[in-house]
């Protein structure tokens, strides 16, 4: 019998967004009051596992772990200089600076100037760190999900995983059983597939000449004002039912598609270029 729920992940689990309608994690808390949510926008698995490593030895058959496994390249760099609220923003910017040599710093955020100062002094060290741990990063999620799987065997706890991108999973659904479950639809897909077909076509027409990345970023930009954790209330309900279905041994529903007509508000969001430097679902 599950008594405790612990949630790890990124903006798909971030509890700060929960104001306008019931959320999947809010509903979990209604059923299991002893629910802790460590979801943090912009966080990668490296951030989430810092907490999980501490929690692991204490887990037992009364625990349910819900993991949103976000992109492994979101490295949690050691940045003691960053203002705490901006730490993930800084980490994303470091990743970008390392990968994209043509990247130009943006001046939209106040923290950027501080970041640029830091980067001019430390980017070589960050690049060396990534060169040293490149393979650990590329294959990071495969090892993380392996550890979660063995944890479900040894601690006897239940573990439910969503990947933001299924390509980052090695096992996919092949080891699913009563104690371990990887959902076979990625959250990125679910987020994108919510849009009604007409809206997708309109997006496409309006944005002819754009790259797929531009279009996706535009769609994601809608979320800043309109979708809580990048999903509609209907799919929050589905997420809750997916977890409950796993715990109770019932059917696990699929995400709903074609249910959301994006209503982008230019006045509210300003120039889209602002988002071009951001990870799509941060």
């Amino acid at each position: 019998m599950i008594k405790r729920v612990t949630i790890y992940g990124d903006s798909f689990a971030e509890p700060q967004w929960a104001n306008s309608h019931p959320t999947w994690y809010g509903r979990l808390r209604d059923r299991w009051p002893d629910t802790v949510n460590y979801g943090k926008s912009g966080a990668g698995p490296m951030y989430s596992f810092k907490q999980f490593y501490q929690d692991l030895p204490k887990l037992n058959y009364e625990d349910l772990i819900v993991f949103v496994m976000s992109g492994a390249p979101r490295i949690y760099f050691n940045i003691k200089e960053a203002p705490s609220d901006d730490i993930h923003q800084w980490n994303n910017n470091i990743c970008r600076k390392i990968v994209d040599k043509t990247h130009r710093p943006s001046d939209h955020f106040q923290s950027e100037s501080e970041f640029d100062k830091w980067a001019s002094l430390n980017i070589d060290k960050a690049r060396f760190a990534l060169d040293t741990f490149r393979d650990e990063t590329i294959y990071g999620n495969w090892k993380y999900e392996s550890l979660l799987y063995t944890a479900s065997r040894i601690q006897k706890c239940k573990i439910f995983i969503w990947h933001t991108c299924m390509e980052e999973s090695y096992m996919k659904t092949s080891l699913n059983d009563d104690n371990f479950y990887v959902h076979n639809e990625s959250l990125e897909e679910a987020c994108s597939n919510e849009y009604v077909e007409e809206q997708r076509r309109a997006d496409k027409k309006e944005s002819e000449g754009w790259t797929e990345k531009d279009r996706r970023e535009r769609r994601e930009a809608f979320d800043l004002g309109h979708r809580v954790n990048h999903l509609t209330e209907m799919n929050h309900e589905v997420m809750y039912k997916q977890i409950v279905g796993f715990v109770d041994g019932r059917e696990i529903p699929k995400f709903l598609k074609n249910v959301y007509k994006g209503t982008y508000n230019k006045e509210m969001h300003g120039n889209l270029d602002l988002f071009h430097d951001e990870f799509v679902y941060d």
Binding site: M46, F49, S146, S174
Partner: protein, 255 residues
């Protein structure tokens, strides 16, 4: 195919007191298993061995057998920039994070310190320090993740996996998930190596290693038997005269 990953406990290139492996008139365990590919390299840790494994693991099938020795988790295979890549004297694992003083130090060998290695260290020790601080938790849990990943490979590729550790103290799985495909030997190789000595506590850090892969013939026999039967068998203890192993400094004998 049998593939071997690990450190000096499996390294085929090890020389003993300047003589090639086999000194002592016996074949080491890794040469008794038939056709093998041996990726083991002295001084390396799981960070290095995993890099080798990543290149192969998806090709394994039910006909394959992986033998993996998980050595010290803090042996990091640091990046060596191009300008130093041709220098054979650089072993990236010789720069190690010292948890007491909280910084990177360069391993001091008995032999004269190669100049190139010192140059590499002087130029990049702050970079290494930063890398370790950023990845600290990932390094600290490398053993747990490595054994979990190996377990996963045995499930998904359906190949046999046999795991040894230098020390089982950091093992998360121990032998709790052993089955037909996965076998973790729940006794540390470092302990087995040390316990060969008579009065081993007094002779914990011998100056000279005279044994092939840090084990005597008797324990090469046992190691072979463990791998072939994949069942627990204790290593032989307390039978090696320590006199020729002159005691010196603080470095572990298998480094």
């Amino acid at each position: 195919m049998i593939d071997i990953y690990g450190d000096s406990f499996a390294d085929p290139a090890v020389t003993i007191a300047g003589k090639p492996i086999g000194y002592g008139g016996f074949r080491p365990w890794h040469e008794r298993l038939g056709k093998v590919r041996n990726f083991a390299k002295s001084s390396t840790g799981p960070h290095y061995s995993l890099r080798e494994l990543y290149k192969c693991y998806k090709k394994y099938t039910k006909d394959d057998h992986i033998i993996f020795i998980i050595s010290g988790h803090n042996r990091i295979h640091f990046h060596v920039p191009e300008e130093f890549k041709q220098k054979d004297s650089i072993c990236p694992e010789d720069a190690m994070w010292d948890p007491v003083i909280q910084r990177i130090t360069l391993y001091k060998e008995h032999r004269k310190k190669p100049q190139e290695k010192q140059k590499w260290y002087d130029k990049h020790n702050q970079h290494m320090d930063y890398a370790c601080r950023t990845f600290q938790e990932e390094i600290d849990t490398l053993t747990e993740k490595c054994e979990s990943f190996l377990y996963m490979i045995s499930r998904l590729q359906q190949c046999k996996v046999t795991v040894f550790l230098l020390s089982t103290a950091r093992s998360y799985m121990k032998d709790r998930l052993n089955d037909d495909l996965f076998y973790l030997h729940n006794y540390g190789l470092m302990t087995a190596s040390n316990e060969e000595f008579i009065n081993f506590k007094q002779n914990r850090y011998p100056k000279w290693e005279l044994r092939a892969n840090h084990l005597s013939k008797e324990n090469h026999d046992i190691m072979t038997d463990i791998i072939q039967t994949r069942t627990f068998k204790p290593f032989k203890k307390n039978f090696v005269d320590s006199t020729p192993f002159e005691q010196v400094e603080e470095r572990f004998i298998y480094d």
